[in-house]
Amino acid sequence: MKTWKEVNPGAVILEPGSARKFKTGSWRAMRPKWIEENCIHCLLCWVYCPDMSVKVKDGKREQFDYDFCKGCGLCALECPGKKGQKAIVMEQEGN
């Protein structure tokens, strides 16, 4: 940990992308769960997620990145799913 003599004046962050090092997933109270069989890979969840916590590979949706997902539930709200069955549901964290 830095001493007061070592901190950057004004708390400016000079290292781009360093927020990656600060894993905010531990703040989560609700956890999104992906139900793969209901997923139509529309990627709306990827569009709406404010924390870039929906991983995508080759145009296909992959697992959540729980290191940064804060459990806001936006993805679950926006998910159209398949035939009225949501592909994302929110569950109590730790259950």
Partner: protein, 393 residues
């Protein structure tokens, strides 16, 4: 070289801003500081400065615009007073916490309610602990000089902190006085080029301002701020010495007037110091050893230097143009008392609250205070530590 002019305090502040030629001014009008930005916007309109003028919808937004422009990497200045400063309060801490060299002229004014537009120090005292550097000016000349020096101090590489330069609302801001400018060329060379530190507009090197700093690091940033504050007096004196070379005018952390051999002294800030000096001269002519200390750098408060300057006195009266409700004594009294507390042998202290809401400070108020100090120096008896003067009983 420099020329003598008859102008108002507000014009003096605006002229210093013109010389400094800020990149951006974010401002919102408020009496009695409106005039500063009004004059300055005419310099912008006439292309006498290169400033981008941002006219915002409130003072909170004005200071926010200043903060944004300052982190973007520009020289930034503004002006305000009273309720405007009260509305800016949240952003004042952000400006200082981000270590931004913003310069603000303040025509010090009373706070509402009751609504009052005239001069007192309530607004400046309200922003006392916001982490800014504060100067108070006796007249238009000091307003101009302090404002010019403020850019150098704020932008000094060892400091990088916002600076406010106060002068008394209406009494100084709107009265015409004789003063002397520093000519443009000399003034511009003195203020120098602005050097940005970690500007956001340096897009090849991305950075971010205003991160969340929690229990593990917050104290380290506060300690660093306290540490940089401690360096301010040295830089203020360094800049003053350079300013003396171009102007012939000498400035210290405070002004001592007939204080060295004084047995009793008054501490009074801004315009009332002038009246007090006149009264002191008449008492000196009668053989009374009375002197004056006029604070100039108010934050950081030069405790040690002020203690040394006053400790030999038998009795000291501190005159406050603001009150701390429920804090018992005026803010300046509390600071001066702190400066003297550590001495085993120290003056007896009294506090007078005067001039609130622009109430005239007359020579008889200085006489009344000096007479009381003479009596205290003689018999050590204090009738009351704090008293409102110039108020109907």
């Amino acid at each position: 070289m420099s020329k003598k002019v008859g102008i108002t305090g507000n014009e003096a502040i605006a002229q210093a801003m013109r010389i400094a030629n800020p990149d951006v001014c974010g401002a919102y009008p408020i009496t009695p500081a409106t005039d500063i930005m009004q004059r300055f916007t005419s310099f912008v309109a006439n292309c006498e400065v290169k400033t981008e003028m941002i006219l915002t919808e409130s003072e909170h937004s004005a200071m926010s615009a200043c903060i944004g422009s300052s982190v973007a990497g520009g020289r930034v200045a503004t002006a305000s007073a009273a309720q405007g400063i009260a509305l800016m309060w949240e952003m004042l801490f952000i400006a200082s916490g981000l270590r931004l060299p913003i310069v603000m002229g303040v025509a010090n004014r009373a706070l509402s309610a009751p609504l009052n537009i005239h001069g007192d120090h309530s607004d400046g005292m309200g922003m006392r602990d916001c982490g800014w550097i504060h100067f108070y000016s006796e007249n238009a000349q000091e307003g101009f000089d302090n404002m010019l020096m403020a850019f150098r101090i704020a932008e000094h590489m060892d400091i990088r902190l916002p600076v406010m330069v106060g002068l008394d609302g209406f009494i100084t801001s709107h009265s015409i006085e004789t003063m002397e400018y520093v000519d443009d060329e000399t003034g511009r060379a003195f203020v120098g080029e602005f050097k940005a530190v970690n500007p956001l507009l340096d897009i090849k090197n991305p950075k971010s301002y205003g991160p969340l700093i929690l229990t593990d690091m917050y104290m380290e940033y506060r300690k660093a701020h306290d540490n940089v504050m401690a360096k301010v007096p040295g830089v203020v004196l360094e800049v003053a010495a350079e300013f003396e070379k171009i102007s012939g005018r000498k400035y210290g952390l405070f002004e001592s007037y007939r204080l060295d051999d004084a047995e009793i002294a008054l501490v009074v800030m801004s315009s009332a110091a002038g009246t007090t000096k006149d009264v002191i001269d008449t008492y000196r002519a009668k053989g009374v050893k009375v002197g004056l200390l006029k604070p100039r750098l108010y934050r950081p408060f030069p405790y040690e230097q002020m203690g040394e300057a006053l400790k030999h006195c038998k009795a000291v009266a501190v005159l406050d143009r603001a009150d701390c409700f429920g804090g018992s004594y005026g803010p300046l009294f509390a600071d001066v008392s702190n400066a003297l507390y550590h001495y085993a042998q120290r003056p007896i202290m009294i506090n007078k609250i005067y001039g609130l809401g622009g109430r005239d400070y007359m020579p008889d108020q200085a006489e009344y205070t000096i007479n009381e100090l003479i009596q205290i120096a003689k018999d050590g008896k204090v009738k009351s530590i704090k008293e409102y003067i110039g108020v109907r009983e």
